[in-house]
């Protein structure tokens, strides 16, 4: 574009102010990262209140701060891959192993587990409560063409759900938009949609117990081994990401997987129910 000379001072003004703004913001926030651990986490661990219970204990002991960004597992892994994390805490084992194999993370460890459940309306039109396994339940939903809300966001829960459909030999792709509805949202938003539509969905147990808008929905299927939900914890590779606060992050991981962290995880209850079962190999 042709510009006349009168625009030049204006663009330099813009540049000037841009630099000013950036400088100002830097002044506003003297390096937060120095004495803090940044965790990219799946939402279920955050929404269940586990961190509110655990982290203050670690923070007090080590005089530090743990900052948690709670997003879907898929996004958490991507953010960590961009070096925007010190620690990754998610629940999609194969994606986690790929993350480590690609060099982004150092040694993945099991941290804890719980299970997924299928929730749906109490009226249970598809008869999911009578199913013996997750495969049977999904087959029943398909037969009835009952509405099923899928996360559809590449999260750990979404990956698990797709795995279950595959095990039931049902191809949901052509069904999307009919009774199979992809919300493209987090677990909480998907649960709200599920309640609103009287639909079925797959959720981790911790999120379900802590979710406060259940209305007439309840757990209809649980206990299948296929519904096992493993959480892993990974140190982001400081060789790939020099900004990683490796020493402190490792301290945090050691504490979480150590006896104190594991015991605290086991002790954490909501509404009288244990949400997570520690299983780190120590």
């Amino acid at each position: 574009m042709k510009t006349i000379n009168s625009t030049t001072p204006m663009s330099s003004l813009v540049k000037f102010t841009l630099v000013q703004v950036l400088m100002l913001c830097t002044l506003l926030n003297p390096a937060v990262a120095d004495n803090a651990v940044l965790v990219q986490s799946t939402t279920s661990t955050a929404n269940s209140g586990l961190y509110d219970y655990l982290l203050p204990i670690f923070e007090k002991k080590h005089d530090t701060r743990v900052h948690v960004v709670a997003v879907g597992t898929g996004q958490a892994i991507r953010n960590a891959g961009n070096c925007d994390a010190d620690v990754l805490l998610v629940h999609a084992k194969s994606a986690e192993e790929k993350f480590v194999n690609d060099g982004f993370g150092i040694s993945r460890q099991d941290l804890m587990y719980n299970d997924f459940v299928i929730v749906g309306p109490s009226s249970d039109p598809a008869g999911v409560a009578n199913a013996e396994s997750a495969s049977e339940a999904l087959t029943a939903i398909t037969a009835k063409q009952a509405i099923f809300a899928s996360r559809g966001d590449n999260s750990g829960t979404h990956k698990k759900e797709l795995q279950l459909w595959q095990q039931a030999n049902i191809d949901v792709e052509p069904l999307s938009g009919k009774w199979y509805r992809e919300t493209g949202s987090g677990m909480g938003a998907t649960l709200n949609i599920t309640i609103g539509m009287g639909a079925y969905t797959l959720t981790d147990r911790a999120t379900w117990i802590s979710f406060n808008n259940k209305q007439k929905h309840r757990v209809l299927l649980e206990g299948d081994d296929a519904l096992f939900n493993q959480y892993g914890i990974i140190l982001v590779n400081p060789e790939k990401c020099p900004n990683v606060n490796a020493a402190l992050a490792q301290q945090f991981i050691d504490w979480m997987t150590g006896s104190e962290g594991q015991q605290l995880i086991a002790d954490y209850q909501l509404q009288g129910k244990q949400l997570f079962y520690p299983n780190a190999n120590h």
Binding site: M1, K2, T3, I4, S6, T7, M10, L13, V14, T17, V21, L22, L24, C25, T26, L28, N29, A31, V32, A33, L38, T43, N47, Y51, D52, R65, H67, V68, V69, A70, N79, N82, C83, D84, G186, M187, G188, A189, L191, N192, S210, F211, N212, N213, K214, C241, N243
Partner: protein, 231 residues
């Protein structure tokens, strides 16, 4: 219906208790959105005034682009700044991602097109009236812009309020670059999103009511000063 009644009592309870977490969140919301609005005004108002009073090639294009940017979805801007501020992005070395600073920057750019475009419109109208006088008095470009900005200050206050409303009410941009980190980057809107996702609908709605109350207070304060300065 029960949710509504519950929300009102929740909101009243939170305010009555001066809930420390709530106060922290409210103060951060105000800090981020007021700072962003202020920065956007400091940059956007002179810029809008200059765009209004100068003639240059491609001016219509600048106007079209500005007006389009007013409709920028916050989440898109958030993503853009996530990529820029990410540790692996070009400005990663600033270590601003997941800090209030990042939230201020992204909201500044969210508000900037609104402030600039509306200022340009207001100053253009005033300029068409003032131009003969200011030219006759040999007031230069900067002086003219200053004069117009000062004389249209009551209208520009409304522009600032429109910018602030956009900033304080958006969630898409701050949640991406701020991360909704408890005690660090959690603001009213991201807290509302979080409580909604936890199924705490009454609490979420209560927070929404408090957010509106804050916006009401800011507007009332500004309008009361406006009454005093109107000439």
């Amino acid at each position: 219906m029960q949710d509504f009644r519950q929300s009102f009592s929740h909101a009243a309870q939170l305010i009555a208790d001066l809930d420390p977490t709530l106060i922290e969140i409210v103060l951060l919301s105000l800090k981020v959105s007021l700072t962003a609005t202020l920065l956007a005004c400091v940059i956007g108002m002179p810029l809008g005034a200059l765009l209004a009073t100068r003639r240059f090639f491609g001016k219509w294009l600048v106007s079209v682009v500005l007006n389009t940017l007013m409709g920028m979805p916050p989440v898109v801007l958030g993503l853009l700044f996530y990529m820029v501020l990410s540790a692996s992005g070009p400005l990663g070395w600033l270590q601003l991602l997941y800090t209030p600073g990042a939230m201020i920057i992204v909201q500044t750019f969210l508000v900037l097109p609104i402030v600039t475009a509306l200022t340009k419109q207001i100053i253009e109208d005033a300029w068409s009236e003032y131009q003969p006088l200011l030219q006759s008095l040999r007031v230069g470009k900067w002086g003219s812009a200053q004069t117009l900005l000062w004389d249209m200050r009551t209208s520009l206050l409304t522009v600032a309020l429109a910018g602030f409303a956009r900033a304080i009410s958006e969630v898409g941009a701050v949640i991406v670059v701020g991360g909704n980190i408890n005690h660090l980057t959690r603001v009213m809107t991201t807290a509302i999103a979080l409580e909604t996702s936890k199924g705490e609908l009454a609490l979420a709605l209560a927070l929404g009511m408090i957010l509106l109350l804050i916006a009401l207070t800011v507007n009332a304060l500004v309008f009361s000063t406006r009454q005093r300065v109107t000439v």
